[in-house]
């Protein structure tokens, strides 16, 4: 457990915006459940992204007005969505053809832990009494061209999430390209973790303290 200053750092919305800024125009994108879903709200004017949801839609649009949802038009988080003009529905085998076949450009996922080599753990704490549930995470990290992680820098209880070695069961090995946290944006390179940007008022020393693996500048 480490001491964290909760007054500094980016908000969840700011984190999502940082991710959004890094996604090139015209990308095909899969957004994981939770904070990743917020990324769509911050795409800069003039850029067109196409969202895939692995349960069977390419061209996911915004959340419908309250009360106007279609129970059979949902995203991977089982929330009501809409479909843009020019979208396409498909079955699961075709959906994972997109994912496993390397056709999706970027996937933004949450994380429990990320290792300094880009290993990702985001599906199970490995606790004996937890019901194991994996969904599409392993297929996404194995197939999508670029994996971005968006996560709080440390856990609610103050434990490191960016670590030398994941202690939770892996979702995939050496798969994460970049980590967006409330404190910093970090690139996972072959030589280690490189800090790309720090949130206002975050010092490198403070950031290193909050991180369970060596950071480079």
């Amino acid at each position: 457990m480490i001491k964290t200053d909760i007054k500094i750092g980016w908000s969840r919305a700011e984190m999502a915006q940082k991710v959004a800024l890094d996604i090139p125009d015209g990308s095909y994108v899969n957004l994981g459940i939770g904070i990743p879903e917020m990324v769509a709200d911050f795409v800069p004017e003039g850029r067109e992204l196409i969202y895939q949801t692995e349960n069977g839609l390419l061209g996911m649009g915004p959340v419908p007005e309250e009360g106007k949802g279609d129970r059979e038009l949902v995203n991977a988080g089982k929330k009501y969505i809409t479909a843009i003009p020019g979208s396409a529905y498909f079955h699961h085998a075709d959906s994972f053809t997109m994912i496993r076949g390397g056709h999706i450009d970027i996937c933004v996922l949450g994380a429990m832990q990320v290792s300094e080599r880009g290993d990702l753990a985001n599906w199970s704490t490995g606790a004996k009494d937890a019901i194991p549930a994996v969904g599409g995470a392993m297929d996404l990290v194995a197939g999508v061209k670029r994996i971005f992680v968006i996560t709080q820098h440390v856990t609610k209880h103050g434990y490191h999430k960016i670590v030398q070695e994941c202690t939770f069961p892996l979702t995939g090995k050496e798969v994460v390209e970049r980590i967006y946290t409330n404190l910093a944006i970090i690139d996972v390179k072959e030589e280690g973790l490189y800090v790309r940007e720090m949130a206002p008022d975050v010092s490198f020393n403070y950031l290193q303290e909050q991180t369970g693996a060596e950071l480079k500048q």
């Binding site: 279609d70 129970r71 059979e72 089982k78 699961h92 994972f96 297929d139 194995a142 090995k173």
Partner: protein, 236 residues
Amino acid sequence: MINKIINSPAEAVAEIHDGATVMIGGFGEAGSPIELIHALIDQGAKNLTVISNNTGSGHVGLAALIENKQVAKTICSFPRTANSKVFPELYNAGLIELELVPQGTLAERIRAGGAGIPAFYTPASVNTPLSIGKESRVFNDKEYVLEYGLKADFALVKAETADRYGNLLYHATARNFGPIMCTASEMAIVQSKRIVEPGQIDPETVITPGIFVQKVVEVANPLHESQLVEQNMSYP
């Protein structure tokens, strides 16, 4: 004349036997064939292996089938959802077996089963606990695991439109596992909101060609799982 239309969900599921393997369509409630599942509860077949993406919510539909102790084993990618209480309880009590499969691998195993492919290699789950004990092999410097095609005795699927040949259309993201489950089961049993005459479905738009479907029953106004869960209903 070929006529796959059956009068009632009860008749449609009558042949499902104890010990059968049953694929059940749906991603959450979208595409979940709730009337067919309830008919299967009434029918009472036991010791089933169920292949599905989730394990249902509340005490209706798939969750109710499990709660009714008809399911010995599930092959599933995400057996835990916001309102799923039944499966976790039985699982923690050791009363139901779980084979956890990544969602894309589950889909591809079903597709392979339907396509006569006994096994294939996939990169998903390599270097994770879910590949332990599985054969792996390197192709072009990348590691893959060997996964096996899945088949079932029966599939329960929800469609939007059907004809007497068994041609199917689906609605939005309710399509999910339906088309591949129809291909992978000996008997695909479909509930459809609408039944039309052959030719009323444009042959260019058919999603499931009739060859993959054995029985069709009209359920014009299917129940909404989430509504039943909100109302705290249970089945039977």
